[in-house]
């Protein structure tokens, strides 16, 4: 291939840089079963740990008898809180400023809570021994309803008794965690009092779980000779885990190496720190051998990181012609037994204050009360930035409720209230500065693509046919226009446990013109090794195929806060571009030296610097790379590498327009998605193939959540959905095909204009499916019904509306 005969476009295409649907480099390993996940790690002499868990949701632990377990051949140790307390490790800090028991310290607060940790020679013996540990419990009254919990005399957190001040301000009751307020309460209430129209509704977003196909696990290996601890684990934030392990264990941070190997899906489940991680470390220190802990599916669903569980009371005010004038929301947030939400420190309810959504709402108020109950802790961002899916569900339901009250078309109501393209950057009433958007263009494109007017006509006809007894199926048209807030975040207001939420990339160019890049993030299926190489390829003109990408080893990768909240592309992606630009700046000086011209007399041209006005005189990046290692260039150090730590100036605000057409059988409650159209605007598109894949997957997770998936408890606090028999994960059979589309509104503050996309489909998908169900029944008087819309609940809606009479 002769470089000189290729056009710039051909040379750019050869790089497989940004905009290319490059095939994934990860897949060669994964398709052959050569991934390396935590449970694939096997070290010499490795032991296996397993938990004894509480069958009760609230009980005193009277005694733990280990004798029978310890007598079983192959059992090495049984750890309880008593064993951990001399090390100060029987409790651990949570990400939300609370603390959590590692092993039950006198009582248990949720079913499945960790009581003892058994260490044995293999997983079968560990499981046998866990059965032999005798725990005596004394049952206590159980609180599973957050509203009841705030009234009850029963004290859940006795360790906090008398503490009227929590991590996020005053506590109003012994089961109350915090109140978080945003916006102008008085002004909003004044608008509500004088408004033409006020729609009011309770919107419940039920408790669910991220449930990645790989459960959580870790392998800890303490080398007593070197004093080094190596900790492999399912960590979405390996560097933060290293710092946390150092702070709570007292092991110096340089003596800890944390490795996130391949991760089998995260979706927020693998952000938190779990008892199993701590126990595997302690057990390795105690036994001097590597210790593996991998939870099973039931443990995963019962104990590690639920999501949602927000009761959102809303009021929305508008003029008679549909202009929204104010929004009020009070949320009661069920956080379970410990406040282990994964949110930036200053945001105890995450970014719930994005709940004004895509609309120009001049005045708003939000208050969130966090409450302790006898449920598992967590509150993670399940495929969304912190509480953004709750916010999007809330506003997109409230818009529909208002449309009913106004007797307006919900698409039109949205259109007249959208923030206009010329209002960006837009200051929202609840404190955010939206970076960019063009909502009207996206909305019109979406409505046209599905023939919205035609659908409404068909729906009207269907209603007539239903009333005439000609059909038992209804047609629902679900609409959603969502705005996300992702890419946390600016260090000035975003930190987790005091660690600023910047991210990083280090790039080294090798003499022969290939490269390695390392980032502070960690892929869990997003394809970072593919896409981040594309950013570098476009920025410095070396083929993506010649760039290796590594993440997840804290001994080699630069410090970063990890992958969740759609922050990899907005933050680490920016760091990648900035590091690449540092390399290009040095390359420019090298090229100018080689071409014997002034630095300013060369210009960048896809994969080379050429002399201005004389494009035939050039040095390719490959030639420059070699020169960096073999020429003594006056004033320049040898080598070609750079690192960037990127502190984003703002969040990014991806948005999208989703439309779902759903058929509903009123007699069986069965639903069928006839069409799902997803238009996403994630700014600059790095790899369209991967974007589409993210949208397909995210909408499918949204389908699960909206249409059946939940973590349900009975009154005794028993988990009713602890296996995949009861916890809904859609199969290929009930999952529809999706139509994807896009507009491109780059982020003005991001070096390449990219905003992040992985979570948009979940944030937009949930209200879209739910709105489709509601819309089908709207002509018959339905205003609000809580998710998940499983067949039974849909049947109940129909029954409640008298459709079975």
């Amino acid at each position: 291939m002769n470089d000189q005969t290729l056009t710039p476009e051909e040379r750019a295409a050869n790089l497989k840089g940004m905009g290319s649907s490059r095939k994934r480099v990860e897949d060669v390993r994964f398709t052959q079963g050569k991934g390396n996940y935590v449970d694939d790690i096997k070290l010499d002499g490795m032991l296996f740990g397993d938990f004894v868990r509480s069958p009760y949701a609230h009980a005193r632990v009277v005694s733990v008898n280990k004798e029978a377990a310890l007598a079983l051949p192959g059992v090495i140790a049984v750890l309880t809180a008593e064993d951990l307390s001399p090390l100060g490790l029987h409790w651990m800090p949570t990400l939300a400023g609370d603390k959590q028991m590692v092993l039950a310290d006198g009582k248990v607060l949720f079913q499945g809570q960790e009581v003892a940790f058994v260490v044995a020679e293999d997983r079968y013996i560990a499981a046998d021994a866990a059965e032999l540990v005798e725990v005596e419990y004394e049952e206590l009254p159980v609180l599973t309803d957050p509203f009841e919990a705030l009234k009850s005399d029963v004290v859940l957190r006795e360790d906090l008794e008398g503490q009227t001040e929590g991590a996020h301000g005053p506590r109003k009751h012994h089961n109350h965690i915090f109140t978080w307020e945003q916006g102008d309460k008085d002004a909003t209430e004044a608008i509500l009092a004088e408004a033409d129209v006020v729609a009011e509704e309770m919107v419940y977003y039920h408790r669910t779980h991220p449930c990645p196909l790989e459960t959580c696990g870790s392998v800890a290996s303490m080398d007593k000779v070197t004093g080094k601890l190596t900790l492999y684990g399912t960590f979405q934030a390996p560097h933060a885990i290293r710092t946390v392990v150092s702070l709570i264990s007292g092991i110096a941070e340089h003596n800890i190496r944390v490795i996130s190997p391949d991760i089998g899906g995260g979706f927020g489940n693998k952000v938190g720190a779990y008892a199993g991680y701590v126990c595997s470390v302690v057990a390795s220190i105690v036994t001097g051998k590597p210790v593996k802990w991998v939870e099973d599916r039931m443990e995963n669903l019962m104990s590690t990181a639920f999501a949602r569980d927000y009761w959102m009371q809303g009021k929305i005010a508008a003029t008679t012609d549909g202009k929204i004038t104010g929004l009020w929301c009070h949320t009661t947030a069920d956080h379970g037994g410990f406040d282990a939400c994964a949110d930036p420190t200053k945001f105890p309810a995450g970014f719930m204050n994005i709940c004004t959504g895509s609309y120009d709402i001049p005045t708003a108020y939000l208050a969130v009360d966090g409450v302790y109950t006898n449920k598992a802790p967590g509150g993670v961002a399940y495929r969304c930035s912190f509480r953004v899916t709750e916010a999007a569900y809330f506003i997109e339901r409230m818009i529909e409720v208002l449309a009913i009250k106004l007797n307006m078309d919900a698409a039109e109501l949205r259109r007249i209230n959208f923030i206009k393209a010329d209002q960006f950057p837009y200051q929202s009433a609840l404190g955010w500065e939206y970076d960019s958007g063009d909502y009207h263009t996206a909305w019109d494109k979406a409505l046209k693509a599905v023939d919205y007017e035609g659908l409404r006509a068909e729906q009207a006809q269907r209603v007539e046919e239903f009333k005439a007894g000609k059909t038992r199926k209804l047609l629902g048209i679900g609409l959603t226009h969502f705005t996300e807030i992702v890419g946390a975040g600016p260090v000035k207001n975003c930190d987790i446990l005091g660690l600023g939420m910047f991210d990083s990339c280090e790039i080294r160019i090798h003499p022969t013109g290939s490269a390695i890049a390392r980032l502070g993030t960690i892929s869990q299926g997003q394809g970072h090794a593919t896409t981040f190489a594309q950013i570098i390829a476009s920025e410095i003109g070396l083929p993506a195929d010649d760039i290796t990408l590594e993440e997840g080893d804290t001994d080699t990768a630069p410090y970063g806060l990890g992958t969740y909240g759609s922050r990899s592309t907005p933050v680490a992606g920016a760091a990648t571009a900035m590091a690449a630009r540092k390399i290009r700046a040095k390359a420019q000086m090298i090229a100018a030296y080689l071409l014997e011209v002034h630095d300013d007399d060369v210009e960048w041209d896809v994969d080379r610097f050429s002399v201005k006005g004389a494009p035939e005189r050039f040095k390719t990046m490959k030639e420059i790379a070699f020169a960096a290692y073999n020429q003594a260039i006056p004033g320049l150090e040898p080598g070609l590498e750079a690192v960037s730590y990127y502190d984003p100036p703002n969040m990014t605000y991806p948005f999208g327009a989703y439309i779902c057409v759903m058929e509903i059988d009123v007699d069986t409650g069965e639903w069928d998605v006839r069409k799902f159209y997803a238009l996403d605007d994630c700014g600059t598109r790095i790899n369209p193939m991967i974007i589409d894949g993210q949208v397909h997957g995210g909408v499918t997770e949204a389908l699960a959540i909206a249409m059946g998936q939940e973590i349900a408890y009975d009154e005794m606090g028993n988990v009713k959905t602890g296996t995949l028999m009861d916890f809904f994960l859609p199969t290929a059979w009930e999952t529809p095909n999706y139509i994807t589309d896009y507009t491109v509104t780059p982020s003005p503050h991001h070096p390449i204009g990219a905003k992040g996309v992985g979570e948009s489909p979940n944030v937009g998908g949930v209200p879209c499916f739910s709105n489709a169900v509601h819309d089908a029944f709207r002509p018959f008087g339905l205003v609000q019904s809580h998710m998940p819309h499983d067949h039974w609940r849909i049947w109940k809606i129909a029954n409640g509306l008298g459709m079975h009479e």
Binding site: K23, R24, E26, D27, V28, R29, F30, T31, Q32, G33, K34, G35, Y37, D39, D40, K42, D122, R123, Y124, C211, P212, L213, E214, T215, D262, I263, G264, G265, F267, V294, D296, R297, Q524, G525, Q526, G527, M689, I690, D692, G693, H696, G697, G698, V699, T700, E701, T723, L724, M725, L729, T731, A732, W733, T735, N737, Y738
Partner: protein, 164 residues
């Protein structure tokens, strides 16, 4: 616990070992034979990450005792790679059509698809979706998995035709 002698053919190779009567096939494959392609996702037969091919049938190895399959001929995803080390047709098509993301379900998915295409070399989309319903994926939404299997069927049929 006393152990029993088991003998299997795995990916064309004869292997043997000692296993407790209660040892699950998935653990024998992963822990004893170090064949870590098949994964453990639920231990209740729901997710299919552990799917292997046993004597011409797709089987979930997380709920099968190794003792039950003594003497069997087993194929895992590792056995679907071409002899020269290149990707097999299904593996290549999953890559080509972006039929995987985190990769955890992929070995079970591809192993099941392999058997599906033996059972039905010309499946419709509906038949693929039905035939793959025992394998869960949390990342892809299945759309590209269906595409990958459909493309594999076309390619395998073309190869067969060319060979005849």
């Amino acid at each position: 616990m006393s152990k029993m002698h088991v003998k299997l053919t795995v990916n064309g190779k004869e292997v043997e070992g000692l296993a407790e009567p209660r040892t699950l096939l998935i653990h024998f494959l992963r822990e004893d034979l170090k064949i870590t392609g098949p994964h453990i996702g639920c231990e209740t037969s729901h997710c299919g990450a552990c799917t292997v091919d046993i004597d011409g049938k797709s089987v979930k190895s997380c709920t099968t005792f190794v003792a039950q399959v003594n003497g069997a001929d087993i194929t895992t995803v590792e056995g679907l790679t071409n002899d020269d080390g290149s990707l097999g047709v299904l593996q290549e098509m999953f890559r080509e059509h972006h039929g995987l993301q985190c990769g955890f379900c992929t070995p079970g998915m591809i192993t099941r698809a392999h058997r599906l295409l033996q059972e039905n070399p010309n499946p419709t989309e509906e038949e693929i979706r039905f035939g793959m319903a025992g394998n869960l994926c949390r990342c892809t939404g299945y759309q590209n998995i269906v595409k990958a299997i459909s493309a594999s069927a076309d390619m395998l049929n073309a190869q067969k035709e060319a060979a005849e």
